[in-house]
Symmetry: C2
Subunit: 382 residues, 2 copies
């Protein structure tokens, strides 16, 4: 397991079941139990989101306390984010699709942080202007998923630095350089922005409590590579008088991030970007998508595919709303009734359908994106 | 010389001439030459400020380039500051009195930074509210010296964090943890705010260049214990395309900071605070002021006093505008014509005269202190 490396800036090594068992123990997270699934399902009106049903969101911290608060009519809020490192490909949408489901189900405020400062500090060749341009595009991309405009609040670190820095010094005062070295793998030759930055990412986990003067729980959906931030936050926040943040944690999904280095935005031409046209999506799907199918039609018919590692299936499942349909496709593909080419075609069609929908919504959002800007005065209802 | 320790947070060891020779070499600063003194005197209309004449401001970096710019009609600006650690005693006024003289002589913009964030991060027992209260009082104290309201700009780090943090990440990106450890003596058990903070203190050294898009030199008057910040800034700023800041550097004055631990704000009752009444000033002067005089009147008459280490003389010299009078008192005291009691009485009278004047001005400043707030739109004339 020593070959597995996972920090917010680097993931390497094999991510199999054993690796996840190791991470669960090392990071100290809990598997989402059957009982918790049932409680979530009840709130959602019976049907769980496919990402839960399939075990993509597989772990949590204190999710039960969030559900207790919800049941008792106490407010909580959601917080997630993105490092604006470049154009978004469809894999980047995964946590946001799930977060939108949570917002729809619970009807709560959501903070989305775009860490433009982090990307500027980490990427030696990146200018601030480049990062800003990417961040602004990413904001529109995320909002085009259709988040509730009244309860969705965009935090761009530079734009919101006055408020963020004020509270970040509370986090920083209680966090040593040693801690950041141990948790994030920072070294002395790193820059002083990188060692301070975790303070800025931790602020949204308590900012609504700080602003309102009430203690309000925060639920953070994230992929497990971001866990270091929130492990630190769970040590620090109680020292500041706030709740430890709750978390709902997904696997790091190589089949959408680009398993074996394929289908990744760093390999030119291979990733499916949100602004790809229909033909490009089809072409990339056929040419680059990692397949869980067999090498020949005969073998596929006989043994079936492995949908779990199949890019086309996972992309399809991400964009299909109807869990029954997803289950059907999964079974058909796994049993050999469905061939890889058919899976790819179905997936490309579904992706194109959704990308078209997002592009329509993006135009609407673009006109009044400023109304999503985080503003401390907007939380009077809490 | 190894016993001498000097960082912005700790000064210990003997500060004699040998120590300063050592610091000059170690820090790489230049002694203010006779030629530079003459150039300064010419601009000032013939008379140098006593702090220059007596060698209190003794060293510099690139002061000649500032004078070149001034002679050529190119703009430059002044930047100084204070860590708002507590109530101000008269020793704290020293750099500000000199800075005011520079502003009056050159007629330039002055930025005064109050590092409330630093004090909160460094002092483990200090709440943010306490630091804020102190900072607000300190701002009024400093402004009551009578700085030009049109050209004096108060930067409080938390209030101005949006602008400061934006540019601080430029500094941070080019500064390693190793550098801060080496220059400031920061260690791994220190908090991550302390290692990042130097970025925030360096920003005002180039902020007017950043804001205006022109490259404008900055002259920073400071006591030598603050030198680490500006050594780092001289490495980093050229990488960002800005000039290295120029500096005019004073000795760390134990006779006003509290030589031998006396007359310091940390020893209850010993320091002369700006809000002390006349009787308190007299009483503290008689009771606590470190004297450079002899033990008996007879000895004093015979051998004279040592004014250089004498609190009463140094405080008098700080508040007396007329260099001729200061020279006269120096000679009288040193020769034995003046006794310690007389020196203390004269000093207390001068201090009380100036404190009364400052209190009057403080009331005026208090009414419209907000007009001194740093605002990027105020530098159109540059």
């Amino acid at each position: 397991m020593d070959s597995l490396k996972m920090t917010p800036w680097e993931v390497s090594g094999k991510l199999d079941d054993a690796a996840y068992r190791h991470l669960i123990e090392k990071f100290g997270v809990d598997i989402i139990s059957k009982e918790l699934m049932e409680r979530l399902g009840k709130v959602a009106g019976g049907e769980l989101h496919p990402f839960l049903a399939t075990g993509l969101f597989f772990a949590h911290r204190d999710l039960n306390l969030i559900l207790d608060d919800y049941d008792a009519g106490r407010p909580f809020y959601l917080y997630t984010g993105r490092g604006p490192s470049g154009k978004m490909h469809i894999g980047h949408l995964l946590p946001f699709i799930f977060t939108k489901w949570l917002q729809d189900v619970f009807g709560v405020h959501l903070l989305v942080q775009f860490t433009d400062d982090e990307k500027y500090l980490i990427k030696s060749d990146r200018s601030k202007k480049e990062v800003e341009t990417v961040a602004n595009e990413n904001v529109l991309d995320v909002l085009s998923l259709g988040f509730d405009p009244k309860k969705t609040h965009i935090i761009k670190d530079y734009d919101n630095a006055k408020t963020l820095y004020y509270y970040a010094t509370d986090v920083a005062k209680h966090t040593t350089i040693s801690t950041i070295k141990a948790v994030f793998g920072v070294v002395d030759s790193d820059n002083i922005g990188k060692v301070f930055f975790p303070s800025m990412q931790i602020v949204p986990a308590f900012i609504l409590s700080a602003i309102t003067g009430k203690n309000i729980r925060c639920l953070i959906p994230y992929a497990i590579d971001q866990d270091p931030y929130f492990r630190v936050s769970r040590d620090v926040l109680p020292k500041l008088g706030y709740y430890k943040p709750s978390a709902i944690i997904s696997k790091f999904l190589p089949s959408l991030q680009g398993q074996n280095g394929k289908m990744s935005s760093s390999i030119k031409g291979s990733a499916i970007f949100l602004d790809d046209d229909e033909d490009s999506v089809k072409r990339k799907m056929m040419k680059y998508a990692f397949s869980g199918g067999k090498d020949t039609v005969a073998e596929q018919r006989k043994y079936g595919a492995n949908p779990d590692v199949d890019f086309a299936f996972n992309a399809y499942a991400m964009f299909e709303d109807d869990p029954a349909k997803i289950r059907q496709v999964y079974d058909d593909y796994k049993s050999g009734r469905m061939l890889s080419g058919e899976m790819k075609e179905l997936s490309a069609r579904k992706i194109n359908e959704r990308l078209a929908e997002m592009r329509r919504r993006r135009k609407v959002v673009e006109k009044d994106v400023s109304k999503y800007t985080f503003d401390p005065s907007k939380f009077k209802d809490l």
